[in-house]
Amino acid sequence: MIRQAFSDLFERLGSTSRRGIRPATLRESSLRSRIMPTPIPRELILSLQHYPDTSAKDVSSMKPCVEVGEWVAKYQLIAREKGPNATRLHAPTSGTVQAIEEIPPAVNGQRARLAIRLLTDTDERELPLEPPSDYRSLAPEQMIQLIEDAGICGMGGAGFPTATKVRDALEKGVKTLIINGVECEPYISCDEALIRERADLTVQGAELLQAACLADDCVIVIDNAMPAARQALKEKLQGSAIKLQVVRRRYPAGDERQLVKAVCRREVPNDGHPTDIGVLVQNIGTAVAVYEAIVHAKPCISRIVTLTGSALLTPKNFDAPIGTPVQHLLNLCGVNENQHEFTIRGGSMMGQYLMDQAAPIEKTTNCIIASNNAEIPEREAEQACIRCGYCEQACPAQLQPQRLLASIRNEEWQDTVELGLDDCIECGACAVVCPSRIPLVSYFRAGKEIHNEDHSAQRQSRHWQERFQFHQYRIKKNQEKARSAKVAAQSAGEEQGFSRDQARMEISAAVERVRRRREALARETGHGEEKS
């Protein structure tokens, strides 16, 4: 126990230059075997809500374009995006649409969302793919169109649609394309396995992405704890213009903003994106998917998922079709039921407890951990904050979690804004090092929710203010009109004219109302699209 404590303390000794923490790596077990193809399960659950995961108002961000009972072929488009922040969905295999219904939330803080249940058949009949005849001569816009058609989203974690991101980069003009192969979570090994076994695809995907966003140079970044992947990449990169950079393993080095800082020595502005300083960051899995999409016109229907944890007999990485139930993958690994107490979706640092084993693998699911209390013990009871400042040393966003905590507890929201609550990336480094075991991230999430409510209330009141001002303006105008009409009527001296005038006014008011109603409706729907 004490020896462990000391070794951890000394581990922290090495992390002086940059913030963050250095948890011990636990990837070995899942890297022992190669990436396994997954036998198609009987049923696939294709969630229609994937981005953003938690706070969206709607139950779905995609519109299904198949009917219940319809037979679909492999690669067939089954759902289209509703707004700009969603991707398309394709059938990972052939089968019959069994239902389109709401499924329960998979993890904490998620809402119920809409999903397509696909009953698979074994023939795997596929639509013919139409790859471009010469993908090297494609214009950037065409490549982006292919990426969009393939429904690719960021495979790293947030799942932002890749086409939107690349298009944005193309418009703004980027200097550097960073391919993110850094995996900083202790358990997740999907990126490492992918590089190790498909380094050539990675490199070609990176080249295609570079061509698509017209970046001056391209850097593949990996961390120093993946020697095999490094070797494989080195071989494939010979003679290529793409550079390889190795950063020190540190959590959360794989975060987009941290990576930009490590590679370009520049920080992303707090209210901007990496593209604002001429950098585009894409995950390594995305690069491979882009390769498939551009060269073979193959939609994104599967991803690499790490299955690990002490409850599994043979931890490994799977090439799993989107929509595979977690239980199916667990069974393939072999679960030691006595050891299995809970399942985590995502890594042990940023992941969440899975509430339902039948929940599907989504495009952003990178890891499933089946574990028990002996391996991942529960957090001890919270003690008083002694302001030791360890959290501050660990925070990659360079915030002061201890002061934020005090402000949140005392509900001093003005101060939390100044202290940068909105800059928190919820990486959890602060909560890991906290000797008082304070669940800092939970506090920050609670605070952020209240911030969001505040912001939306402010937006709403601003909107209402505009409406009210317009209302007043309209009334004033109508009054003026009425007065001028009255004056005209008086000068004419005709009662008839007056009533005609009034009728005309009423008509024009009705026309105005209808016009405004249309406008309002248009605005409403416009809003709806923006939000979803």
Binding site: E382, Y443, Q465, A510, E524
Partner: protein, 196 residues
């Protein structure tokens, strides 16, 4: 040999740098102040932007802006029930006043509301359309009216004029909230408060 600190040259150096930094600090302060003072002008606007803009008139003024004007000249900040605690908190910060509970004479804090017309009963009198301060009710004379839910402020000004009482105020669905501070404040193991 005198100590270094009593050397005249050294003293001038230190004194000069201290003076220089003092001047820099003053320059910064004045610049920062100038920025702050520019915000000073629009006191009523700033108060108004905090008020919820429901235009309900429960504060005793005909709208939000008149109330903001009254606050700027010294009226109490706790007379806005739709704004609730949030508005009082932000006003107290802006005006450096104590945070006081809502004045019950002006109503109680309620959750956000939205007006709904029972369309079967509506006779199309347009009285509610006239009353609505944000033009959230649409419809023509002798025709059924309806409320655009996203524009409705829930001010209840349309309830009074309706001759057939066909307008209801129903609660808006609250914002989805998962993490609660209250739950965090209690220890999951013992159920006792973690900190008081």
């Amino acid at each position: 040999m005198t100590p270094l600190a009593e050397n005249l040259f050294f003293q001038l150096l230190v004194g000069g740098s201290l003076l220089g930094s003092l001047l820099c600090a003053i320059a910064w302060g004045v610049a920062g102040l100038r920025k702050r003072l520019q915000e000073q002008r629009f006191l009523v606007d700033r108060i108004n932007s905090i008020l919820p803009q429901t235009q309900c008139g429960r504060c005793g003024h005909p709208g939000c802006r008149p109330y903001a004007r009254a606050i700027a000249t010294g009226e109490a900040i706790n007379r806005c029930p739709p704004g609730g605690d949030r508005a009082i908190r932000r006003l107290s910060l802006l005006l450096n006043e104590a945070r006081v509970p809502l004045d019950p004479a002006h109503g109680e804090i309620e959750s956000a509301k939205v007006a709904v017309i029972r369309e079967a009963e509506c006779i199309g009198c347009t009285k509610c359309i006239v009353a609505c301060p944000v033009d959230a009710i649409i419809g023509a004379a002798k025709h059924m009216h309806t409320v655009i839910a996203s524009e409705c402020t829930g001010c209840d000004l349309c309830i009074e004029p309706c001759p057939v009482d066909c307008i209801d105020l129903v609660e808006r669905a609250p914002a989805f909230r998962y993490w609660s501070l209250a739950a965090l404040a209690t220890d999951p193991l013992s159920g006792e408060p973690c900190h008081d």
